[in-house]
């Protein structure tokens, strides 16, 4: 069953009882919430994701609940917890949808050490992954959102899951976090892109979440082989350039963006070396979205037009 097949009241009931099992492969998340904002956001953003029966195994149990008591009444706040343990400080209730996104990322990063996890956006074409590892503020989510509407399949805007045994990369095809300037940019770039309502005053400014394209969600289980690693840097007003770099240089920078490189020890080193070795490596300076997308697009000439 897809989440879109649930009527809004049924979804709210499942959320209230902690019986919503959301399939975001390779993970299953059990979500509990008494907040209408969460139900609404899930209904909109996760419509194409699967829902499993409540007696199935879930990897993470997350709750987004209203904070009760006088404090909650004066300033309505939401609390995010993972299996009963609060992971962040409470935030205003209308931040609940992004809180859920950050919280799910936290769950994966803190626990899923079966993968080498990179802080990177990933898209795929013809079975090959374009990986954009970068610190916050480098514009990787924006690039990823744009590419996801230009014939590249969205894997993730934030977390690349690298399976060191198979040498493949996967993502959860979850919604893309965009700052409001980027929302304007993407709306112009891809008018078909759909966004959640914008959320002001978060730790990262005004944010919206972009719906993942339906095809990306339906193909989420298809992992990709590493194709290109591009280290992006946003430079306002700078000329947009894509320059090849040495694999060694790329390797060093990618380790900086690996959350759990230390957990994997020698296997992490050789696995990452294999990943980087299989990819072509570039540095991208981008000041103009169209130019950047054109350069990245040229990396993998489209054989078949997969755009809907």
């Amino acid at each position: 069953m897809r989440l879109a097949d649930l009527e809004a009241p049924a979804l709210r009931r499942l959320l209230a009882r902690g019986e919503l099992l959301l399939a975001t492969p390779p993970f299953v998340v059990r979500v509990t919430s008494d907040l209408p904002q969460v139900a609404e956001a899930l209904h909109f953003l996760y419509r194409d994701f699967g829902v499993l029966p409540p007696d199935r195994f879930s990897d993470f149990r997350v709750e987004v609940r209203r904070v009760s008591g006088v404090r909650g009444w004066l300033k309505p706040q939401a609390r995010f917890s993972v299996d009963g343990r609060e992971a962040f400080l409470p935030l205003p209730q209308d931040h609940a949808p992004v809180m859920l996104e950050w919280g799910l990322n936290w769950c994966v990063v803190a626990h899923a050490h079966q993968y080498l996890i990179l802080h990177a956006a990933v898209v795929e074409r013809d079975g090959r992954a374009l990986i954009l590892p970068a610190p916050p503020g480098s514009g990787k989510s924006t690039l990823c959102a744009a590419l996801a509407h230009r014939g590249w399949r969205l894997l993730s805007d934030e977390l690349a899951l690298c399976d060191l045994r198979t040498g493949t990369v996967s993502g959860m095809a979850r919604p893309v976090n965009l700052k409001n300037q980027s929302v304007e940019l993407i709306s112009r770039f891809a008018p078909e892109a759909r966004f959640s309502r914008s959320i002001a005053g978060t730790a990262k400014g005004t944010l919206s979440l972009m719906c993942p394209p339906a095809e990306a969600v339906s193909r989420v289980c298809e992992a990709a082989r590493p194709g290109w690693i591009v280290l992006p840097r946003y430079g306002a007003g700078e000329a947009t350039t894509l320059s090849p770099i040495a694999r060694t240089e790329c390797f060093m920078e990618v380790t900086e963006q690996a959350y759990n490189y230390n957990v994997h020890g020698a296997a992490g080193f050789s696995g990452l070396a294999r990943l980087v070795g299989e990819a072509e490596c570039f540095r991208l300076v981008h000041g103009d979205l169209d130019a950047a997308v054109a350069l990245l697009d040229a990396l993998a000439p489209q054989t078949v037009k997969t755009e809907r």
Binding site: D59, G84, H264, G265
Partner: protein, 378 residues
């Protein structure tokens, strides 16, 4: 009170075959909360039950294996760095997780820990601190009160962290504070040590020393988030000691001579009661000198039966919160005389209830990867 699923699964791994998907979910949750998830992976592996674990739950065990394996390698390296930093004339004695792991003990398999604990002679303490600072460790930032509290009353330096590696070390000069009601003969404890293989000049307490230190630590501890994990340590240490010719025949006498008869009594009692550790009758008999009065024992039973469970909502019963609070207060009462205790505790409880902890807001913090959950011990 029912036995938590994680406890019955660790004690009877053959039951793995009969668990439903929801049981597995619960076992993983409880194991994670109790810091026993890598232990669970190890126990299922050792009893050849790993193939009964469904693929989705198995991923969590695999991740835990990797973390435990990595910690083993890291503690090995860390201890080398510590030995190199500390002047050669100063003996370094490993305690707890680091000792179990590097001695290759069963208690060290799948044992997750967040810092390395070492014991050094008190008169060398200043020298050790200076040497560690010269080699890149820094004293954790804390307010003046906490720093003073550690240095004046505690049996350890404030926790130190290595600037580059981000690793933590606790430097002890005794196993209990000087102000504690129980007077421990630290010198006698440090006399019975064994060399740590592969680490020249590094020592660990001998088997009985490890067991008695573990008991004294657990039954003086006020924050029992890792209480069940520590009880499993005791169980593994005791079983391994029983398999040697010396067994635990000396345990009672040694406990009494070190001043640890009471915690040893509790260790024997709760290992048996909660984990069914097969201790021979003479061990029980020899531990009896440490038994408290009947009234105290009833109270302690009520508290520890509730506290030595996973700190997880599904293991909480009527009275858990009260038991934890009582043990918290008791731990301070054991640690210092009344005129120090009352102002200290008032301050701590005030902070605990009214001052919000500042948590990390974003994924990407260093802690995500190492699975550490260090809690301040003040």
């Amino acid at each position: 009170m029912n036995t938590p699923l994680i406890v019955s699964l660790l004690l009877r791994p053959a039951t793995a075959a009969s668990l439903s998907p929801l049981d597995w979910e619960l076992a993983i949750r409880q194991a994670r909360a109790a810091n026993l998830i890598a232990r669970l992976a190890h126990v299922l592996e050792g009893s050849r039950q790993r193939h009964h674990v469904p693929a989705d739950a198995a991923m969590h065990l695999l991740a835990a294996d990797l973390v435990a394996e990595r910690q083993r390698a890291m503690v090995d390296w860390e201890v080398r760095c510590i030995r190199e930093a500390v002047p050669p004339a100063v003996p370094v004695v490993l305690l707890k997780g680091a000792a179990y792991t590097l001695l290759g003990l069963e208690a060290g398999r799948g044992r997750l820990f967040s810092d390395v604990d070492i014991l050094v002679p008190r008169e060398r303490l200043a020298e050790v601190e200076r040497a560690l600072v010269e080699h890149g460790w820094t004293v954790a930032e804390m307010d003046a009160y906490d720093d003073e509290y550690y240095r004046r009353w505690m049996h350890e330096l404030p926790p130190m962290r290595h600037e580059r590696r981000g690793t933590h070390i606790d430097v002890h000069h005794a196993i209990l504070p000087d102000t504690a009601r129980v007077r421990v003969d630290n010198a006698a404890l440090m006399q019975r040590t064994v060399p740590v293989p592969g680490h020249d000049g590094v020592l660990a307490l001998d088997a009985l020393g490890l067991l008695l230190h573990s008991a004294s630590h657990l039954f003086h501890e006020g924050e029992l988030d890792n209480g069940l994990r520590d009880l499993f340590d005791l169980d593994a240490l005791a079983r391994q000691a029983l398999a040697t010719p010396a067994g635990l025949a000396e345990a009672g006498r040694r406990a009494a001579s070190l001043g640890l008869a009471r915690p040893w009594f509790y260790a024997v009692r709760y290992m048996t009661m909660l984990l069914g550790t097969p201790l021979p009758a003479h061990v029980h008999a020899n531990a009896r000198p440490g038994q408290p009065s009947a009234a105290v024992l009833r109270l302690m039973d009520a508290c520890y039966r509730r506290a030595l469970r996973p700190p997880h909502a599904t293991c909480s019963t009527a009275g858990t919160a009260a038991a934890l609070l009582l043990l918290y207060v008791r731990s301070h009462w054991l640690r210092m005389p009344m005129h120090l205790l009352i102002p200290h505790l008032a301050r701590k409880l005030w902070r605990r209830w009214f001052e919000k902890p500042t948590a990390s807001v974003e994924p990407g913090g260093a802690d995500g990867a190492n699975g550490a959950n260090g809690a301040a011990k003040t």
